[in-house]
Amino acid sequence: MEAALQGLASSMLVPASTFSDSAAKIGNVLEVVAVFFAVVLLVFYVAGKASGKLEKPVAIVVFLVPAVLLLLIGLVIPAIRTFYYSFYGATSAKSVGLDNYKWAFKTPAIQTVLKNTLLWIVIAPVLATALGLTIALMVDRMKRQAVVKSLIFMPMVISFVGASIIWNFVYNYRDSSQPQIGLLSKVVITLGWKHPPNWILSSPLNNFLLMVIMIWIQTGFAMVVLSAALKSVPDEIIEAARVDGAHGFRLFSSVQIPMIRSTLVVVLTTIMIATLKVFDIVRTMTGGNFKTSVVANEMYNQTFVQFNNGHGSALAVILFLGVTPLVAYNVIQLRKERATR
């Protein structure tokens, strides 16, 4: 306690410039935001003068053009260019045909990356959704479920970097003769496993340990959405099924789950898309070493560490092709829903 007070006291000795600089920085930022809103309002005022035939086109241009331009510059054009550069060499100077793709599928290290990615998108989303569904079903009939839900949902709001630091204290390795600081080692040693491995270094186990982090984060999302879907199943249906003799597991499998199937698919695909793009966990836990790299991380490596734009672009395109069917499926669902509205 004493040390704590000392800490507080000496924090008063921080150079004042740190705070004044910070205040100035935040001041500048707020100024930029104010200017932004002032410009928007000014444009609204001027454009609002347009009347008659001009009114609608002017409104469309003012409302839509900023977003469309930003999306074109930020996403559409880069995507097209990346596709194009994936057929060019490391410095984008010379066309190399399909070499970058051959490299991706033939280099053993990259094959490992692709295999890992495949494992990730199958295992992490399925387990996270299954766990989320199980918890949603279990809490559906519980009092005080809000507390449980908040605790399980909490990892969702933590950054991947924060999560990695948290999990370092779980996976930390010390020789078993020393006092442990990693929770996992401590638990298995207590349970009688004398010499646990160095978790993060042991392939292929380390891949699954990293997936546990993703599942830890995404289960809360699946649970909240599925729980809401379960609540929207009318009580009458459940009551009727119970009168007909459906209990426990049968009630879940033949009544509740079919009723929420479309939500289930949305949750699964959403987590899959997030998993395909997973970057931060691998980056901060292992840096992609020890055979744990995935496409999103390898792409970053190739481009920003190896400076091979061709390889990086090819990996980005492979990633893109992997996500496309999932998003296409969601778009089809969305169109159906929109048509029935």
Binding site: I26, F44, L64, V68, G74, A146, F169, V170, D235
Partner: protein, 317 residues
């Protein structure tokens, strides 16, 4: 925070519970309750371990597991002080400047995209024209583009500007400024923001818009005086999401602000330090907790909006 206060807080917040019917009540089972509580505890232990570690003296953190804290409680706030203000590790003056950077990135990175998205969502929902449906679906489908694809072209654009036939029509951005990070977050946040806001705004009552039109209000007036005020819940939930996404982001940060401590946010700094985990784990714990503090406060105080936002995209009705 006491457990009771927390539960009272969240009971009303997370799920606006309907009156539970007698049928469902009769089904509750102590075994299941125990299992659920066990899961919740299991889910919380890693974070709890970090919190405990961050409050222990450096020597203890390095030498003994955090669970031994309960047998030998040594409590200190020194880690927090060191990590925030001292040039304890890395020699760049602690994390405090990076917290400021995170704020400086997050405030415009949240407000600007939401404003632009709200405008686009309104026009796609209420100023219909041929092709507005196509634009809407394209915007939704843009989720497909991995961020990584856009990084290099954007980096080039920011450093060189844009030229067409030797004429520069977009200037290059000064290195070491927040602009590249703000603009990137705006671009990347737009697809989801437009999609979710469109879902909400398109369901506003048409009579209201018609009445305003008859009174001679322009689209801009309708947007400002009817649409924005009525969309507050959707805007709030989206703002929370965008805030969390920007605050927690690492990829955009290290790409567009990497290597420039003047603008690097907290996540970028922590990732650098995490690479040297062996060096000062106790400071890293305090740093991580500092980075989690604001998101956790936002989550626990605004979770009603948070959950609503999650549901907008995925559950019908």
């Amino acid at each position: 925070m006491s457990a009771e206060a927390l539960s009272a807080d969240t009971a009303t917040a997370v799920a606006p519970e309907r009156p539970v019917k007698a049928v469902r009540k009769s089904l509750s089972n102590p075994l299941i309750t125990a299992a659920v509580v066990a899961l919740a505890v299991l889910w919380t232990i890693p974070t709890f371990g970090l919190l405990i570690s961050s409050l222990r003296p450096a020597r203890d953190v390095v030498n003994t597991g955090w669970w031994t804290f309960f047998a030998h409680p040594h409590f200190t706030l020194a880690n927090y002080h060191d990590v925030l203000f001292k040039s304890g590790f890395g020699g760049t003056g602690g994390l405090f400047p990076f917290v400021v950077n995170s704020l400086a990135i997050t405030i415009p990175g949240t407000l600007i995209p939401i404003t632009i998205a709200a405008m686009a969502a309104y026009s796609l929902a209420w100023v219909r024209f041929r092709g507005s449906d196509a634009i809407f679906f394209t915007v939704f489908a843009l989720q497909v583009v991995p961020l990584q694809m856009a990084l290099i072209p954007l980096l080039r654009l920011y450093t060189h500007g844009a030229h067409i036939g030797g004429v520069q029509f977009l200037p290059s951005l000064p290195k070491g400024s927040y602009y590249p990070v703000w603009i990137s977050h705006t671009m990347f946040g737009l697809p989801l923001a437009i999609f979710l806001l469109h879902n909400f705004i398109s369901r506003l009552p048409a009579d209201l818009m018609e009445a305003a039109k008859i009174d001679g209000a322009s689209h801009f007036r309708i947007f400002r005086t009817i649409v924005l005020p009525l969309s507050t819940p959707a805007l709030a939930s989206l703002a929370i999401f965008q805030f969390l996404w920007v605050w927690n982001d690492l990829l955009v940060a290290i790409t567009f602000a990497g290597g420039q401590n003047k603008v690097l946010p907290l996540t970028g700094r922590l990732a650098q330090l995490n690479g040297q985990f062996g060096a000062h784990p106790e400071l890293l714990t305090a740093g991580a907790f500092v980075s989690m503090l604001l998101p956790l406060v936002v989550f626990f105080s605004l979770q009603r909006y948070f959950v609503r936002g999650l549901l907008a995209g995925s559950v019908k009705g």
